[in-house]
Every structure is written in structure tokens, then in C-alpha cells.
């Protein structure tokens, strides 16, 4: 299964959420690859803390590969190469977790036939080896989206299950921009249709992820951490609730309602300060991250293959 992740705007926590989904998924025993297609800003390595391993392979990333400068992109094994101690060492029962990084200092480049052919070869190779391949595309309308849609429309990828996660924050502007990214002219569905995807089927493969959602009524005792809504004045809570209700209505109208939402990631103090993987230790000992955050990542990781959540009503 190949899962593409995108968003209209930056700052949705797309990359860090994807990395955490990959991490959680690998912990459950699946082999997982994480491919950095954020061509303009290839920074996935920092989330996995693989900075020095990437620097050791200059010109070995997906930029060089797709443009034909190298025969194969590097794959970095997170369990053995990460600079974060908690991630190193074999974890019992865990599957492999590999990063296919971008080139350090790489930039955007347009798609052509040769690029998509190489891309298809990469996806097929990863599909054979990994249960889940997460491809992190860049924010907004980009060459990366174009390459992904063009590649997956090719006949050799017809039998590969593909899915799309579109990340957005829980605000009016984000909702509207996200609906436009998917549905408007030159949106994902239309570009997909242009390259030969069937539009309804493609839409059925899209799910949304609400990211950095401030909690209103999380009870404090459950989190061990003051919840986002804790310490608010009654008027502030009332305002938040009214906003939340308004956004719920708006999202339904824009076609981003809960029936097409795969999950919600709460706002977490740790992720506000640093993009990183949230391990179970972070939740338990010392309790720096909220349990809800880890649960949300786990739920998303499970949701990728839960067919009932990908059915169209």
C-alpha cells in the first residue's frame, strides 16, 4: 500500500504526523518505508534524527534518483542509524522502518515521462518489500502531487492500493483551502482525472486528517498534563465551543466532514516545540507528551488498513 500525504498549507504538522504514523505502524510489526517527496524542503531526516546519516550520502536521495543521476536512492534504517537513543536497537516484534530521504539542499523539479517511469519503478520496488510506503508530498499544489498522480495512473501500478491523506488544521481558512486543493479546478481530483484516474474512485481514496486541534473538554486527570482547554475562562471555553460547532458545520458542507476524516491529532506541547517521534516513553516516563497524541497516531496507523474506514457510505 502506498499512502500519499499532502496539505494545502504548511504548518499542519503533516511531516511529523506522517513520521509518527510510520513509526507506530512499524512498531506493530509491519515493514514501513517513509519517502520524502517534499522536494522544496526535504527535512524528514530531522524527525527521525538521521541527519548525519543523510549527510553521509550526498546526491543519493530521491532528487538525484528521479532525475536520473543515481541508479537507486539510499535507504536509511531508522532503528540502527537514528541519533536518538530511544529509537536505536532492535525492538522486539517491530518491523523495519526505512527512510528514503531527499537530497540535502535539493529543490523542486517538474515531472516528465522519464521521471514518472523512475518513480513507478521506485514505488514498485518499495511495494514489494514494505507493507506500507508513506510518501510525504509537499504543501500546496506542487510538482510532487503531479508526479504522484501521474505515476499512480500508469498501468504497471494499477494493482497497487494507493491512499491519500490530506492534512489540515482546524480553522476556517485551512478548511476552505483544503477543499479547494482537492476539489477546485487544478485540484487533486482534476489533475488525477487528467492523468487517467477515475475521479469518483480517486475521491474515495482520499481521507482527511485534522491536525493540531486544540482540545476543549479533555479532562485533566486523564492526560496527566494540563489539557489545552484547562485554565480557560468560561467565556473562552464558550467561544471555543461555538467556533468548534461552526467549523464542524462548515467542514460537513465543504465535504471534509467526519465521514471522510481518518483521524484527529490533538495539539501537543511537545510537537509545538519540536518535530519529533513521540515514543511510549515520552508519554509515560517522563510524561512530556500527552497520551491522546500517541493514541491519535496509533489510531491513524491502524486506520490506514481498516477497510471500514475507507468505505464510501
Amino acid at each position: 500500500m502506498i499512502v500519499f500525504a499532502t496539505s494545502d498549507k504548511g504548518g499542519t504538522g503533516r511531516s511529523v504526523t506522517c513520521a509518527n504514523i510510520a513509526y507506530r505502524r512499524a512498531l506493530t510489526g509491519d515493514n514501513v518505508a517513509y519517502v520524502d517527496f517534499d522536494f522544496g524542503s526535504p527535512t524528514a531526516a530531522t524527525v527521525f534524527e538521521l541527519g548525519s546519516a543523510v549527510r553521509a550520502h550526498p546526491g543519493g536521495g530521491v532528487h538525484s534518483y528521479l532525475q536520473g543521476r543515481t541508479a537507486e536512492p539510499v535507504r536509511l534504517d531508522v532503528w540502527s542509524l537514528s541519533e536518538r537513543e530511544a529509537l536505536r536497537g532492535s525492538l522486539r516484534g517491530a518491523g523495519r522502518l526505512c527512510l528514503v530521504p531527499g537530497d540535502v539542499g535539493g529543490g523542486e523539479f517538474p515531472a516528465d515521462e522519464a521521471v514518472t517511469r523512475r518513480c513507478a519503478n521506485l514505488f514498485l520496488a518499495l511495494e514489494e518489500e514494505f507493507a506500507v510506503t508513506l510518501v510525504d508530498l509537499s504543501a500546496g499544489r506542487s510538482y510532487a502531487i503531479d508526479i504522484a498522480l501521474r505515476t499512480t495512473a500508469r498501468p504497471e501500478l494499477r494493482d497497487v492500493v494507493t491512499r491519500w491523506l490530506v492534512f489540515h488544521r482546524w480553522t476556517r481558512q485551512h478548511l476552505e483551502a483544503t477543499a479547494a486543493l482537492v476539489r477546485d479546478e487544478r485540484g487533486i481530483l482534476q489533475i488525477g482525472a487528467h492523468w487517467g484516474h477515475e475521479q469518483d474512485a480517486l475521491e474515495g481514496r482520499v481521507r482527511y486528517v485534522r491536525a493540531a486541534v486544540p482540545g476543549i473538554d479533555l479532562p485533566e486527570q486523564d492526560t496527566g498534563f494540563p489539557a489545552a482547554g484547562h485554565g480557560l475562562r468560561p467565556e473562552q471555553k464558550e467561544w471555543l465551543k461555538a467556533c468548534d460547532a461552526e467549523l464542524t458545520r462548515r467542514s460537513g458542507k465543504l465535504g471534509l466532514g467526519r465521514t471522510v476524516t481518518l483521524g484527529t491529532v490533538p495539539l501537543d506541547p511537545v510537537l509545538q516545540w519540536r518535530e519529533q517521534l513521540i515514543t511510549d516513553e515520552d508519554v509515560l516516563m517522563p510524561q512530556i507528551a500527552n497520551r491522546e497524541t500517541a493514541e491519535a497516531f496509533q489510531d491513524l496507523a491502524d486506520g490506514l488498513t481498516d477497510e471500514s474506514r475507507w468505505e464510501t457510505l
Partner: protein, 606 residues
């Protein structure tokens, strides 16, 4: 007890779903067993609040509110719960359709022989009653609203097809139920010196009027109704007699489709109106022309025609009974309790049912004219308050009287004509408390007299206490009804099975209460005036305060910002919420007085 409709309705939902799901399947665990009425009542408990109350819908998964979702959770998730419910509706429709797809309305276990030990014949088990039709109208409308709205959010071909089928079946059921109601309306003509005529005259006589004068006056009052009835297609045996002004008449709904002159076998009911079934029919018919029905365009052109016909009869029946109830002017015959009818011995139920018709009449006039005149409501409010007392709710139940029997076992109403297919049957009526509470709330919502309203609402609170004391408190059906003995401290063994008959009626009460809460609060002229005066003084003192201090550059004192904002808000809301405006003005006055007091101290050097 203050009625909290949202909470009450969600509790009913939670309990209904909890006790109706057995090993994944939907069953009817009710004490009356399964039947077209009882099964519909069970489903209406879920569908009707969603139909009538904003914010309780569950047909749009993207807009369902969290508490609604949690109450229905045993049925499934945001999307699977409505899917499951649509399937349950579909199965109900299959069960109550004949081989050829024609909807059927067997009253089933609701009818029981008047004589102990007798067994209804199989033919009688298939009898269709006004209650079944009326319930089917309410059920079909609320289910149609749900299915249509849900279908708009469904993309999958298979589910869409099955929803469309359900919609068509609901549509058929609604049409048949409306036809059934039409067939059950009847006009009964009788001479003034018959037993019926004498009962009627006795009921209406107030101040020892000579009967001749009374009959003349009655003929005058009922003239428009008589003329209206003569415009209806009536059986050949009735029409000419109705034209004879010397004869008395009554109109309304019999217990089922009435026997016509050509004597069709399935229509067996005697063409005599019954108060209970008239009120039952009216309660269903109003749903046909409710705002929700019209806004969602639930009726087909054919059904619009039927609804129009029903509405004519509804208008005539409520006009007739309202004229009787208020006959004569100053003191209403209705206040001279209990109401006497020819069909049964005198009972508080008859008074309540006539009062119910009057409430229908008032609500209709209120819809047309905005506010009903105050003097109309006082006698009616008196009657309702007295009924609460006689029902042993606001007054201690009399030990010897029949007070408790009103609620349990209730009153067995004979169904004249049912004996044609077996033993004579009756219908056990026991909805005294919820019916009374519903009418009390409706009248409280209509009256512009705030003191009258408070009086009615305090009776409503006691009625609610009584009803909530009758809930089952253990087993899977806990939170549903009915343990009537509990309200009278009787050590009844608790039935483990819920009564959908009563639960459905309590649900209707909560829906009426929810509609009332949704309205703007009743306006008090006194409070508006007080608020205006307070606001005037506050504004004046604020102007003086601003005048007294030098104009300084920079941002103004936070106190003045606050005062200014409070005064602005008070001016904005003074018409709609005078109490709030008064509170804001009072706060401003207190703040300004703090400054004045401080200055005062300084000038005294203290």
C-alpha cells in the same frame, strides 16, 4: 422537577436502544408484545425527536452532535447507526405489509375483549384502528424525513437503492394511513329526546335554562359546523337527517373505519365519534401540516389532497367540540366536571379529551392570529389544574375513589361494532398523566398572562415529578416507563418490560417542552419598564462622570471602557432580554457609585 427536554430525550434514546438490541438484532421487548402500533411507537421514540427538535438529528453523519451519537452508540458509529436504523425501518415496513405490498395496520395486542376470558377471533386481530393510522402518520413522516435526509449523504449504489425502496414503502404507508383516517371520520345524528340528546343537553345546561332556548342557541352556535359537514360526502342515511335542524348531531373519529351503508366487511366500527379516538386522530393529523412536514416537502401531490380533506374534518371536529366545551359564555360547561358522554359513564378522561380538542383549537387560532385572547385561556387553565388535582397528582389521591385507577389499569373503552367479528372488544386507555402534561405545557406556551403561565408550569413540574417517579429503575429497560404504582407508593412488583404506549407519550411531552424552550421568553412589561428606568439613570450618571473629568490623551481608563461596553450591550438587548439589560445597568450603577463614594470620602477628608 424542572423538565430538561434534551437530557430527557437522550435518556429515552439510550434506554430504547439498549433494551431493543438483542444479540445484534432489533426486537420489541415491550409489555404489549409486538404489533403495528407498539413497534411503531418504539421507533417513533427515536425518530420523532430528531424530526421535531433542532440539534437532535442523526441523518447527517457530518453534523450529528456528540451526545446524540453517544446515546445511539449501541446501533453503531456516526455512519453505521443511521444505516442500521434505516434497515430497522425497512424491516418494520416489510413486516406490516401484505403479500401484495399493501400496508396493513393490525392493532394486535392493543385490543382486548371486554369480558374476561374471551378470546379475540383471528379476524379481530387484524382490525385496523384510528390509533394505528394516527401512529402510522407520525411514524411515516418522521421516518421519511430521516430517510430522505440520510439518502442525500449516501453515495454507495446499494445503500441508495435500499433507501429509495424504504422511502417508497413509507410513502405508501402514509397514503394508506391517511385514507384510513378519512374512512374513520363520522357524523352521528340523533333526536334531542333520545338518550344521547338528553345527555348532551344535560351537559350543556348551566343556569336552569328552559331546554327550548338552549336548543335554539345550540343550533345557532353549531350552524357553521353543520353547514361545513353538509359539504362533505356523507352516507345516504346521514345526509338528509343532518339537514333537519331539529335533530342534534356530533362529529369526530370513530375507533376505526366506519361501516358504510353498503356494509363492506373490513369496516365494522359503528359510525359514532369517540372522544379518545378523535383526539388521537387530531394529534396525528397536525403532523401533516406541521412546519417540518411542509419545509421538507414530505407529501406527494396525492397526499396533499388527502391532507386537505383531513384538515377540513379536523377543523370541523375541533370547531364542534370547542363550541360545546365553551357553550353559553361566562362559565364553560367544560368546567362543570366531569364531562358526560353518551358512550361511557362520566370520567375525568372525557374532560381531558374535550380539553385537548380545545387546546388544538387554540393552537390553530394562535397560528392564525398570533396571540389568543387572554380570557379564552383562564377557564381552560382552571380545568387542567383541576384535572391534575383529580388525577391524584397535585392533591392526595382519595383512598376509596378511582383516582389511582385512572393511571392503572386505566379506562377500558368499548369499541362498538367490534362484536361483529367475535367478542366485543375494548381499548385500555391509560395516558392520563402524559396527556395532561402535554396539554398543560401547550396552554402555558400559548398564554400571554405570565401569572397564569407560572401557575401552569408549577403544575407541569408536579406532573413531571409524578411521571418520572413512574420510570422503571432496573433491568435493561431502566429509564423507560411504566410503573404506575410507584407514584402511589404501592409495592407493585416492577415489570421488567417497558410500555411503548406510555414512553412514546412522555417523549411527545418532552418534544413539546423542547419547542417551548426554543421560543423567546415571555415578555414582562413591568420588567421592561424597570430596565428602561435603570438604564436611563446609568447613562445619565455615566455622562456626568465623563463631563466631570478632564479629557486626557492616551487610552481611556479600563473602567470606562467596561461601563461603555455594558451600556451598549444593555441598549441592544433591552427589548428582547429586559432582565439582562437591568442587570447590566445595575452593575454600571454600582461601579459609578464606587467612584462617587470615593470622591465623597476625599472631600470629607475621612
Amino acid at each position: 422537577m424542572i423538565i430538561q427536554p434534551r437530557r430527557g430525550l437522550l435518556e429515552i434514546w439510550g434506554a430504547t436502544v439498549r433494551c431493543s438490541l438483542r444479540e445484534g438484532g432489533w426486537v420489541n421487548p415491550g409489555c404489549d408484545g409486538s404489533g403495528s402500533i407498539s413497534d411503531a411507537e418504539q421507533l417513533i421514540c427515536l425518530l420523532y425527536p430528531a424530526f421535531k427538535v433542532k440539534g437532535l438529528g442523526f441523518s447527517e453523519p457530518d453534523a450529528t452532535e456528540r451526545d446524540v451519537h453517544e446515546a445511539l452508540a449501541p446501533l453503531g458509529g456516526w455512519e453505521t447507526a443511521p444505516t442500521a436504523l434505516a434497515e430497522i425501518i425497512g424491516r418494520y415496513l416489510d413486516t406490516y405489509s401484505a403479500q401484495d405490498g399493501r400496508p396493513v395496520f393490525p392493532a394486535g395486542g392493543c385490543l382486548r375483549p371486554l369480558e374476561r376470558g374471551a378470546e379475540p377471533s383471528p379476524e379481530q386481530a387484524r382490525l385496523e384502528t384510528v390509533e394505528a393510522f394516527s401512529m402510522a402518520v407520525t411514524f411515516s413522516l418522521s421516518a421519511l424525513a430521516f430517510v430522505k435526509s440520510f439518502a442525500a449523504h449516501v453515495r454507495g449504489a446499494r445503500l441508495t437503492a435500499s433507501l429509495r425502496e424504504t422511502e417508497a414503502a413509507l410513502d405508501r404507508r402514509l397514503t394508506h394511513a391517511m385514507r384510513g383516517l378519512l374512512a374513520s371520520f363520522c357524523v352521528d345524528v340523533f333526536p334531542a329526546d333520545s338518550a344521547k340528546g338528553e345527555t348532551l343537553v344535560r351537559t350543556l345546561t348551566q343556569k336552569r335554562q328552559p331546554p327550548g332556548v338552549l336548543l335554539d342557541q345550540l343550533a345557532g352556535e353549531l350552524g357553521p359546523v353543520r353547514a361545513g359537514l353538509r359539504g362533505l360526502p356523507l352516507p345516504a342515511s346521514v345526509a338528509p337527517r343532518l339537514a333537519d335542524e331539529a335533530l342534534l348531531f356530533q362529529c369526530g373519529w370513530s375507533w376505526g373505519p366506519v361501516r358504510a351503508d353498503d356494509d363492506q366487511p373490513p369496516n365494522v366500527a359503528d359510525p359514532v365519534p369517540s372522544l379518545y379516538f378523535t383526539v388521537t386522530a387530531m394529534d396525528g393529523i397536525v403532523d401533516l401540516f406541521s412546519r417540518q412536514t411542509l419545509l421538507r416537502g414530505l407529501l406527494s401531490p396525492e397526499q396533499h389532497g388527502l391532507a386537505h380533506e383531513l384538515q377540513r374534518r379536523w377543523e370541523l371536529a375541533q370547531g364542534y367540540w370547542t363550541s360545546l366545551a365553551r357553550f353559553g359564555g361566562a362559565r364553560w360547561p367544560l368546567q362543570d366536571m366531569p364531562w358526560r358522554t353518551a358512550e361511557s359513564e362520566e370520567s375525568e378522561y372525557a374532560t381531558l379529551q374535550v380539553a385537548s380538542v380545545v387546546v388544538h383549537n387554540l393552537m390553530r387560532r394562535h397560528d392564525l392570529d398570533d396571540v389568543a385572547p387572554v380570557d379564552d385561556l383562564t377557564p381552560l387553565a382552571d380545568v387542567l389544574v383541576e384535572l391534575a388535582a383529580r388525577g391524584g397528582i397535585t392533591r392526595r389521591p382519595s383512598a376509596r375513589g378511582r383516582t389511582a385507577e385512572l393511571h392503572v389499569p386505566g379506562e377500558l373503552l368499548a369499541l362498538p361494532g367490534s362484536e361483529r367479528g367475535g367478542p366485543a372488544l375494548g381499548r385500555l386507555v391509560s395516558d392520563y398523566a402524559p396527556m395532561l402534561l402535554k396539554r398543560v405545557l401547550q396552554v402555558a406556551g400559548l398564554t400571554p398572562d405570565l401569572r397564569q403561565r407560572d401557575r401552569l408550569l408549577s403544575v407541569a413540574d408536579e406532573l413531571a415529578d409524578h411521571l418520572w417517579g413512574r420510570r422503571l429503575n432496573r433491568g435493561p429497560a431502566a429509564d423507560l416507563w411504566d410503573v404506575p404504582g410507584a407514584a402511589y407508593g404501592r409495592p407493585d412488583p416492577q415489570p421488567a418490560k417497558p410500555s411503548w404506549y406510555l414512553t412514546e407519550r412522555v417523549m411527545e411531552v418532552l418534544v413539546v417542552a423542547a419547542t417551548m424552550v426554543g421560543r423567546t421568553p415571555a415578555r414582562s412589561p413591568l420588567l421592561s419598564e424597570t430596565a428602561g428606568e435603570l438604564l436611563r439613570e446609568a447613562e445619565h450618571l455615566f455622562a456626568q462622570e465623563l463631563m466631570s473629568r478632564p479629557v486626557e490623551p492616551g487610552s481611556p481608563d479600563p473602567l470606562f471602557v467596561r461601563v461603555d461596553a455594558a451600556l451598549n450591550r444593555a441598549r441592544d438587548v433591552i427589548d428582547s432580554r429586559p432582565g439582562v439589560a437591568a442587570a447590566l445597568a445595575a452593575e454600571v450603577l454600582r461601579e459609578l457609585d464606587g467612584l462617587a463614594l470615593a470622591r465623597n470620602r476625599a472631600s470629607r477628608g475621612g
